[in-house]
Symmetry: C2
């Protein structure tokens, strides 16, 4: 799809993508919705104000007041047919042969008002997150980590293939890409077999490569979402780094699951790639040998997204090392299956809820989505470019996740980056006063 | 404290209490803040509008616009000194010998506008809940349940006495007292030792007696709350029923904790008893033999609240049986310890966050906060008044929790009731289409 706006061929934000986000600029600090297109963003608040939606069908035009909001929750709640209509309309506006050149292509005033260089924007959390749920759908990750702790014969827990295992995460500490996080303090056992914990900054701080999914539609409490309707509840996707303090987790997680090991921060990328933009990249996922209960049985077989994913670590000296190359097709459970399972007992979802996929890993070296796997539990360090090595993440290190898919036309549908730097632990150790 | 307003001696809402909530009425459906006093509520929106706060210090008066909001979040965020000042002022307004009779006592117009019979109000969720965290601070409960599964020698997990174990719960499905909930569907093992789950409405649906605590103040991400400052983050308390599907939980919880077994609904009482109203009922809790890390060491010893708690079950035939009588002093960890631990890794709290204490149980028969404990894992049924018995909660059953403390002056500081009825499971079993 060619555009009158120059879009570099290497851009993640091709016309086939048009991801949505929330921006501000130094000259206009108010947070507002935008779409990313090449090296620019279209400020949807300014675009709507400048009659940019005037060629849209009148009933759809009426609802564009959602672009005056400071989050995408209102837009998300309008549902997938609406997201599709707006994305299609914006593609038409930006096309080389746009049927509406007067809307933007030849409208210098509106181009001045609404087209902002991406480099001049600050990106904010795209939605107000009600609840955040983290799944464990990366079967290779579950297998790799289970093998480390229990050996390959007992790597997967008995329930693993029967249902998409998940836990509730912490919504307040989900942060936008670029937000630095402090190394967490916590209790941990000083050595295997010890029974008295020490209190220290985490000595095994890890990252986790995940995809995130935002929910656009709610269900009533007590009324499960059937699998065959679940696609309608998906707004779009982001990259996610579910930071994890392995030593804290190991001590605290029995019997109620991870808590402080995870809740100090979860980083997401800022541009939400709409579900429709990723439709061309559906594929089959890992095969599940188990006979599933009907509420989890897919009729379609192409339920998993094939997105290329990479993780790199950058030290304070500026040396950058790619540590992981993998694909999101390494998931056992599809997003519709996660939605169906999350609500089967009656739990209500709300627009803006965030799901994490769980760590995405291959089985081979260099395809693992966590340092825990890459280093075989901290035993085999990763060699860094320019010297040095890492067992886990050290103070000052920056972890960058990126992800993209390439369409049959060569256009890239990408997420940009999900970036987070780890700062030294909070300096004060709290004590009795 | 005698009032010019007749307050029954048996009322939970004495002048020593003055709990805050959100109400609406059939004639005014807008949700608004109120305090409960005897058989009435004072509509704080109408009271503010009618110059009810005119005798309050001017700097405090300015902030009473929070009572125009539809939740208590704004009021909570003003902090404990403000809550104390407002509660003290309202006590003065209602006192028999009020220094300001013209404000309400002799102001018939404002009494008409702002004093509403409790029986004519509908009570709503008091705060918009950001995140909900459920602790496991009831050591007797942990011991009782651990004994059922692993025997008394291994009843408590190794971490239990070292830190307040907790997990993140589901905020969206926290409901106000009186909201019926459907029995959850889910996967469960048909018998001990089975390895293939069945799919059915839960056959072991349980209640859990807890206290809830609302947070009034946030901390910055990465900056833990020191224990000696933690009291300032407590807004107040409610009763909580953390419904639990034991068969679903048993199958799903390894390794990431409870999920669908809990997220179908959590019921709370509507009137938030302010932290200050419960100050007279502080006592020592269960003794912890472990040497705690400094961040969890209390200087004070009277850190646990002594609130009398009762649970009853009412069948569809109207027979009511009291099944539990206990006290909230059966907690190992104090709320300040929970706050300090929740934030020690850097997690940020926000006004409106909700903590659950975990199930509160004694060690003896008739003092257990769950049916699981009362029936020794479903083996010894509870006998009901008027005939019949229960191992777990059946369709149509209503569980009522109540709680109160009695001051040295004989005045009751109580919570009212926390009520929930279980309806039959959602009728449609979802299948492939």
């Amino acid at each position: 799809m060619k555009s009158w706006l120059p879009i570099p061929a290497s851009s993640h934000f091709s016309l086939s993508n048009l991801p949505f986000g929330i921006i501000s600029t130094s000259t206009q600090v108010k947070q507002r919705p935008a779409v990313a297109v090449g090296d620019y963003v279209l400020d949807l608040s300014a675009f709507a104000h400048g009659a940019g939606f005037s060629k849209l069908a009148p009933d759809l035009q009426q609802k564009t007041d959602v672009f005056a909001q400071a989050t995408l929750n209102g837009f998300a709640a309008l549902g997938r047919p609406y997201h599709r209509a707006i994305r299609n309309y914006l593609q038409e506006v930006f096309r080389e042969d746009t049927p509406y050149p007067e809307v933007l292509k030849t409208n210098n005033a509106l181009r001045q008002a609404a087209l902002v260089p991406l480099s001049k924007t600050q990106v904010h959390l795209p939605l107000a997150i009600g609840d955040y749920t983290d799944f464990f759908a990366g079967r290779n990750h579950a297998f790799n980590v289970g093998t480390l702790f229990r050996g390959p014969a007992n790597a997967l827990q008995p329930n693993y293939n029967h249902l998409p295992v998940a836990y509730h995460g912490r919504a307040s500490s989900v942060v936008i890409s670029g937000t630095p996080l402090r190394r967490p303090w916590g209790q941990a056992l000083p050595a295997p077999g010890a029974d008295t914990p020490v209190f220290r900054p985490s000595a095994r701080l890890d990252m986790e490569l995940e995809l995130g999914m935002f929910v656009c539609r709610g269900n009533a409490l007590g009324e499960p979402i059937p699998l065959h309707e679940a696609e309608d509840f998906i707004f779009g996707y982001v990259l996610m780094n579910d930071w994890s303090a392995r030593d804290i987790q190991q001590w605290e997680y029995v019997p109620l699951g991870p808590f402080n090991a995870k809740n100090f921060g979860t980083t997401i990328s800022g541009w939400v790639v709409l579900a429709d933009a990723l439709e061309p990249f559906r594929t089959e996922g890992l095969k599940n040998e188990v006979e599933l209960h009907p509420y989890l049985r897919n009729k379609r077989t192409d339920n998993i997204l094939d997105i290329q994913l990479e993780v790199s670590i950058t030290t304070t000296k500026g040396n950058k090392t790619t540590v992981t190359k993998t694909s999101s097709k390494n998931l056992l459970w599809s997003w519709p299956q996660m939605l169906a399972h999350h609500t089967i007992a009656g739990c209500n979802l709300r627009p803006g809820d965030l799901f994490g996929s769980g760590t995405i890993s291959g089985l081979d070296a260099g395809t693992h989505g966590s340092f825990l796997e890459q280093t075989q539990g901290g035993k085999v360090p990763i060699k860094l470019e320019g010297g040095g090595e890492r067992k886990f993440v050290e103070d000052g290190d920056t972890i960058t996740i990126t992800g993209w898919a390439v369409g049959t036309d060569g256009e890239i549908v990408g997420f940009g980056d999900c970036v987070g730097q780890i700062l030294a632990a909070f300096p004060t150790v709290h004590s009795q006063k």
